[in-house]
Amino acid sequence: MRICGLRRESASIAALEWDERNSENGMSTYPEPSAAARPQDVADDVREDDLQHVLQVVPRGAFALCAIAVALLIIFWLTIYFGIFLPRGPVS
């Protein structure tokens, strides 16, 4: 369990260094510490080629999920507006 992952102090600077290293060995070499006692709870590393692989699909799932959420939001809003608000009579 990585309650406290241990990567680098600053994302952007770390990114600069990491990009260089990455281009040499093709994978992340961040140390992977853990806040939890059990080592099997420690998170896996992100390998650059794995990342590129999943990015062929991402963000299709996110797109679908968010579109469903927003569609429900609009449908509920329209239901309340036309189903409850307007029938309750005019206001001005």
């Binding site: 309650i3 406290c4 102090e9 600053s10 600077i13 998170a43 999943v54 996110a62």
Partner: protein, 538 residues
């Protein structure tokens, strides 16, 4: 993290969480008073003292002190340098603590039963208002520290992107400076002179308008730490990457721009403003949904990366592959669910004429308890759990209690707010201590209020579970190698345009929008010259 900074951060967080626990207890008790059951000491005096204290502690103390402490933590860990001035930080802390004590004692003595939104011409003891002013003054010192920390870092790293967590923290500091202008003007020029007896009358139209300036943006001040966690902690906790760093910066900039010129949507039902500016601010309010909806996509995509890296396939298969056993991931997912319900309620609220259907009913209470009490506070828990080992050097001996506590908070919030939505839609007013359930029209409310009692009790349990967790669960073997880390973006930016790396341009735009949105609504009170109201000492 070195121990002086750790002490500073923990001092802030403990004050925030102590206030939170006290306020949670009172919130649960209020549910009991409003229900068919009889609560101990069920009198209007105790109820409204309790509501005043609950609002003051939850709205002014918990978020302000949490944000200050978390801000110091981010400044030190993300920038990897000392704070500009530890001395000033401690002075700010003590100013705020003295202010909290002053306001809290006054409220509990029953000397300022005006609720946390003041409601002039009701006035309470001046010590209540002065106490709150001190809290704000303390937070202003924090704002200056954040601005200086970023400026100093940029001087040493010309052209390098400010780490996103710090960029967002400074966005919040800038937002807070703008936000507090309204309430500070109301308190200093209107309410405090009245409370001191220097003035016998007050222009309530002006005071409500000034307060509305603060009233919406303050919610985004509370919310931004949750978004900082979404962008800079959640993707890593899930085992993935942040989908886009640029979108994160854009979201925080949009929050700064659009959370301010919209406060008049709190005044839709007020007689002192015409429909023109109400309509204008409704339009602007619709824009404030944009940064949230963009964030939801960016963060969902980040989680999708994590889920697919962990072997998830198909359109939605990645969701169940996410490491839901990790507190940050669990809290993030539940926060999104509550954000959905709360955001839906908010869309109803902002809808101009439709606001009449729900204004000042329990619907509104449900809305902000879902957004703030639900989404934001659950992320405060997750942030606390994330940073506590870095502060103390001791990890949790188990994450199970952390997970249970987060689940309880979610279940409690949902159970409590669902009946509020329903009853609010059928006219249940906010801020009423007891209902006469012998009224035939409201007899059916009884069972639903019992559901809220149950929800409130679960939230109260969760609140104390949280404090217990912080005190008792982070007792693992001490370690010296624990550092804070922030999520990497898929493509971390190497260079950024100045507009995405600072706030100079955006401040001018905020000024422009505020002039458009608020100049006439405020100036009109010096033109129409409404007869002022007589001060009523509560």
């Amino acid at each position: 993290m070195n121990s002086p900074t750790s002490r500073l951060v923990r001092a802030h967080l403990w004050v925030a969480f102590a206030a939170f626990a006290v306020a949670a207890l009172m919130g649960a008790a209020q549910m009991l008073v409003r229900s068919e059951l009889t609560a101990p000491a069920e009198r209007p005096e105790t109820y409204f003292i309790s509501v005043t204290a609950h609002g003051t502690l939850m709205a002014y103390v918990l978020p302000t002190l949490f944000i200050m402490g978390f801000g110091y933590f981010v400044a030190v860990t993300a920038l990897n340098r000392e704070l500009p001035s530890m001395k000033a930080a401690w002075i700010a802390y003590w100013i705020a603590v003295v202010g909290i004590a002053m306001a809290a004692v006054t409220v509990f003595l029953g000397k300022a039963t005006v609720l946390y939104t003041f409601y002039p011409p009701l006035t309470g003891s001046v010590f209540y208002y002065l106490g709150l002013v001190l809290v704000v003054v303390g937070s202003w010192i924090w704002c200056v520290q954040m601005l200086l920390a970023m400026r100093n870092w940029k001087r040493e790293h010309p052209g390098v992107p400010v780490p996103l967590a710090m960029f967002a923290t400074v966005a919040n500091a800038v937002l807070w400076l703008w936000t507090t202008v309204g309430v500070a003007a109301e308190l200093l020029f209107q309410v405090i002179p009245a409370a001191l007896g220097w003035k016998q009358t007050i222009d309530v139209g002006l005071s409500r308008t000034l307060f509305s300036w603060t009233l919406h943006a303050i919610v985004y001040f509370w919310l931004i730490p949750a978004y900082i966690a979404f962008y800079t902690m959640l993707p890593q906790a899930a085992g993935g990457r942040l989908y886009s760093d640029t979108m994160g910066r854009l979201a925080f900039i949009l929050f700064l721009l659009y959370s301010l010129p919209v406060g008049m949507h709190h005044l839709f039902m007020d007689p002192e403003h015409g429909s023109g500016f109400k309509f204008l601010q409704m339009m602007l309010t619709s824009l404030v949904t944009v940064p949230t909806l963009l964030t939801i996509f960016t963060i969902t995509a980040s989680l999708e990366i994590a889920g697919r890296l962990r072997g998830g396939t198909g359109l939605f298969g990645w969701i169940k592959k996410l490491p839901w056993d990790r507190p940050m991931v669990l809290a993030g997912g539940l926060a999104f669910v509550m954000l959905g319900f709360g955001g839906f309620g908010g869309l109803i609220n902002m809808s101009y004429g439709m606001n009449a259907m729900v204004h000042n009913t329990s619907w509104v209470t449900a809305h902000f308890h879902l957004i703030f009490g639900g989404s934001v506070v659950i992320m405060y828990f997750a942030i606390a759990y994330e940073i506590w080992p870095k502060l103390t050097g001791r990890p949790a001996w188990s994450v199970r209690p952390l997970r249970y506590q987060i689940w309880l908070w979610f279940i409690g919030t949902m159970t409590m707010t669902l009946p509020w939505h329903l009853l609010g839609l059928f006219g249940q007013p906010r801020r009423v201590s007891t209902f006469d359930y012998s009224f035939p029209q409201i007899a059916w409310w009884g069972p639903w209020t019992m559901m809220s009692v149950a929800g409130g009790a679960i939230m109260f349990l969760s609140a104390f579970y949280f404090v217990w967790n912080l005190a008792k669960v982070f007792r693992g073997e001490p370690r010296t190698d624990i550092h804070m880390t922030y999520a990497l973006a898929v493509h971390p930016p190497h260079r950024l345009p100045a507009a995405l790396n600072g706030f100079a341009l955006w401040n001018w735009l905020v000024l422009f929008l505020m002039v458009i949105a608020y100049a006439y609504p405020i100036l009109q009170f010096f033109i129409i010259d409404a007869p002022p109201a007589m001060i009523h000492r509560a």
